[in-house]
Symmetry: D2
Subunit: 343 residues, 4 copies
């Protein structure tokens, strides 16, 4: 064992995000995975759950234990269903751990909104104040100093990155944002549900949770931070028959004159130093396959001058930049690693 490595733990390793964290972190030269927890109902070895870890990672995988997590780790990823994270985070923080929560528990600063969209009371408003929304492109400095990261939701990551430059430049009519988002099935988590069975999803497509998806207040909150105005978007998510990836097609009216070239130039400038955002030239549009299994967000756009409208298309891997990849990017920033390490 290399004592100079940072010891990381993952709570909830059996979900898709937990598994992706295992894959990324097992290739990360600066950390050592020292603790994982899994299903509540049985004790296993992680290599029995994921046979491809055989000979690579030999760790017990039991129900989450605060004591063990505190004893064995420096940084803890909470890849748990919402409400579970805020149950464990306070003790972990008290014990001096850095906590990266990939659930929704610390994303909404307004607990009333949390309670409305998640249908449960928020039980840790004390730590909510210090939680930093972990989108490095907007909050890198705060992330570097944070001990509690609210890792962004998958839909919000794709939508906010696609809108921030135009909103910052004052190019967009802030009241006209319509987001038509399409997500692969891992976005819904690894839970036994008839609606997510292969033959229910395959060869089909549906819209769901029209206007009422739990990611709406998260997008609204962050775009309001960007613009300094109260933003309320129209958001329609769709479930598409692929494993991974989100494509967001965003329709927005122009508040000032712009054409495709000028808008792209603004975006390229905004993201010029970002290691994980690529802006496509010449009205070219990105496809999901270009970012799957990466931590990238690719963005393309086209202005319809006659209609005074811009359409922005962004793609991310919902398990990469939309969850585990971004969580590791946040860890890299918090721990002083190169931001691209392991990604």
């Amino acid at each position: 064992m290399n004592n100079s490595k940072i010891r990381v733990g993952i709570a909830g390793v059996t979900g898709y995000t937990g598994e992706e964290l295992v894959k990324i972190l097992s290739r990360h030269e600066g950390v050592e995975m020292t603790y994982v927890s899994g299903r509540e109902d049985r004790a296993e070895k992680i290599q029995d759950i994921f046979p491809y870890l055989l000979g690579t990672l030999d760790l017990a995988c039991n129900a989450f234990s605060l004591e063990e997590a505190i004893e064995k780790t420096d940084v803890v990823f909470l890849a748990l269903p919402h409400t579970n994270s805020m149950q464990y985070a306070p003790e972990l923080l008290k014990a001096g751990k850095k906590v990266i929560d990939v659930s929704a528990d610390y994303r909404l600063q307004n607990t009333a909104e949390y309670e409305k969209f998640y249908n449960v009371p928020h039980t840790d408003s004390a730590n909510l104040k210090q939680a930093v929304y972990g989108l490095p492109e907007l909050h890198r400095k705060a992330i570097a100093k944070a001990t509690l990261i609210a890792n962004p939701g998958c839909y919000p990551t794709g939508a906010i990155l696609a809108l921030a430059p135009g909103l910052t430049a004052g190019t967009f009519d802030v009241d006209s944002i319509q987001i038509d988002a399409k997500s692969g099935v891992t976005g819904a988590g690894r839970k036994a549900s008839k609606d997510l069975l292969f033959s229910e999803v395959n060869e089909s497509l549906k819209a769901y949770k029209l206007f009422e998806h739990q990611h709406v207040p998260e997008i609204d909150q962050e775009l309001s931070v960007v613009t300094g105005k109260k933003i309320s978007v129209v958001f329609v998510p769709h479930l598409i028959a692929i494993n991974r990836g989100i494509l967001s097609t965003i329709y927005v009216k122009l508040a000032k004159k712009a054409d495709t070239a000028s808008l792209i130039a603004d975006y390229q400038k905004f993201y010029k130093d970002e290691p994980f955002v690529k802006v496509y030239p010449d009205g070219k549009l990105p496809e999901i396959k270009s970012v799957v299994h990466t931590n990238f967000c690719h963005i393309g756009m086209k202005v319809n001058e006659e209609k005074n409208l811009a359409v922005i298309v962004s793609v991310i891997d919902n398990l990469g930049k939309g969850a585990a990849g971004q969580a590791v990017q946040n860890m890299n920033i918090m721990c002083g690693f190169g931001e691209q390490t392991g990604l």
Copy 2:
């Protein structure tokens, strides 16, 4: 051979629409398939092209021959690439055949628009005037008397059916229509193109032809007919990794007060006698899988009163109601069969 049956021919049987016509017409009790044509480059038996027809349908399949088509058929489906249809239709009409053209050649009454979007001159404006746009829900009476049908495009079918009732009732702001459409891959035809290879399309998603898809002028034309106003929609198509089906998510501002219940009531009334359109109650939304391998269009909707916006979702099978199914529905109307025969 049953002399009382109508003799039908299909030009272009090797494409997806042609093949679907064969499947539907071979189960249709009122017709006999007497002529098919296929690839230009070789003479075959149709059962060699589609081995599942072995023992079911024994027809030669050569390059299209006007003489044979005129001699052997009463009704001809032209499932050909655009420009080919207007090459053959004039002679077929002159010979007294009923012609159902599933290409785009007779859809746009404005030949300048045709030439702009299809990049070729229009060579049969003479017959264009008498061509009837074959959307039975809007033009049933004209279809019954027609000898030349312009069978609607797949995207336009889904979009127009989703918008017509609200536009007719004056509920929608006609300048605010945004259509985010998602189509399965058969919509692109059976042509050897790298972009349509399995591994290029599978596990991905992309938007394409932003603002400039050739179905835009067709949608604009037909919605202008419906409203009596000049309509110009925003249309963004996407290619999804499924074989068949189109889901259109349509965003439109309200021109007068409406809620989800009142809007649905209008739609249910508009389509109450239609055999192939179903309007979903209670804000429920349709999925592609419910209409695949059928001639149905299913429509659901939800009003966001706060934002003064309706979202309409329609689904069709692009090869069913979006092409071959609708073509047979048109034939049924033209020939006096029950409209649902064989469908």
Copy 3:
């Protein structure tokens, strides 16, 4: 209501086979669906479960009731999990109903085998004796007289049809049969299981239940009937990432001289009057897509004379000829309808 139509009921309409039965029977001119039952836990309308039935079929769908089934039907399809069928069949038979059981309860004449492979006691050996194995190509006459049909399993249907002609002709070494079968995911049923989630199955492939699948004794039993010898096959099933369809690749040593042409000739002769079996000429091999959404079985084959080996490939739709389609074919035979009616 048309009193001349036969009244049919479907127990277990919410499973894939039950739903397929609804689709087929709603197009069948000789029957009227008068009773369906569904999930144990709630009372619904069938059009709430399958919204595409809206306006087409208006039936209550509650937990199964013997009284209602007896009162309202002439023929009952039991599309239930095994053990449920043998719970209800005795009373239905006593009441004079024809029963078509698509579960495994009446397939194995040897109850010890049933108990070994299904891990439950068999509770209706009384009716087991009169149950007819519903493979029309082998047992048509017995089916016509039967009141209780054991509808064959999906894998056995594909395997037995692929082997029967060669075994009957004495061409195959009966001790050398190896069946490598690949099934779409609906074959596993519509049950909420993590292993069947979209993202678990998609873009993957696995073999399962090596040598111990519950369809092994069923294949062995029926091939023993065909040959008059005790047959024991090697059977390895695989789960493939498609909704519907089974392809079986069968390896068998030759017991007497044969080549591709002679073997095909034997098969064509064996099936020459069968409406639902097609034998491909010239060593051509069938693909799953040719039979999906049909009741057909297509068979191709090739002999490797140097190795004294034949490879037979058969394809069926596991929900068609492998379940619901074959069940309706059996009903047609039992009730005196044309065998292809509705199929």
Copy 4:
């Protein structure tokens, strides 16, 4: 530019294997990509072909030029259609380059077999003698000294690794090998062919090239090397509707007594020091998803003692261990890098 890095070139970067090589090598710390060639018909930038390389790799991509390749590289990967490789390899070797050929040109030591299965004359028998079959698990020492590597075919890699331990131990009847293989669609290459269109492959499955696939002589040759006997296998490949991955189900009779545990023990011993082969314990079987996007081969097995038969299941990624991954593994061995570098 880091002068201590090895300069690598890739000929044929626009194919699936070429693209995968780009992805792997761009993360490889010991090399610098200095030359790529692509389509014959046009000059491009590689980031125009693969937009995700924007900002990452800026290289011209023209038709292959021997002069440029010789000037700019130390190691050349030939990811070209067969016959092209043997056209360029002689000059590259003469110029002192290390050549890793991922085509079939240097795999078969018997040129008559090559000409029979590839239908073209072999034009470089001179270099054929020194070509080393690049399967590190069997030929690591020879690879280390080689300048010309014949990188193994995808099917042979999965089949040979699954059979070598049992054949070496004398456990298997060498005349009884039957390989039922299933491959994802990238295995067929990125060529515009109707048979490989999304909607032709999706939701289907077929067997092809029964007994006559061009990988048969390659498997036979290498298993003959392993056993010292003339081996001739039965090989039936299938095309499955996934992007990447091969699962081989191999049936083999036992030549001496063995059970599942003893056979697994032999395999574990055989591969105990191999970084890229995992043998599953306890009769567990591998799934394709466990190895996709990796250079691993996973193997599971089960003995049917009653039938004196073993079934071995192996999985690889056809673009990983089956092509580009293995090619990089070979480069690592040839160039003295750690064998797992970049993989």
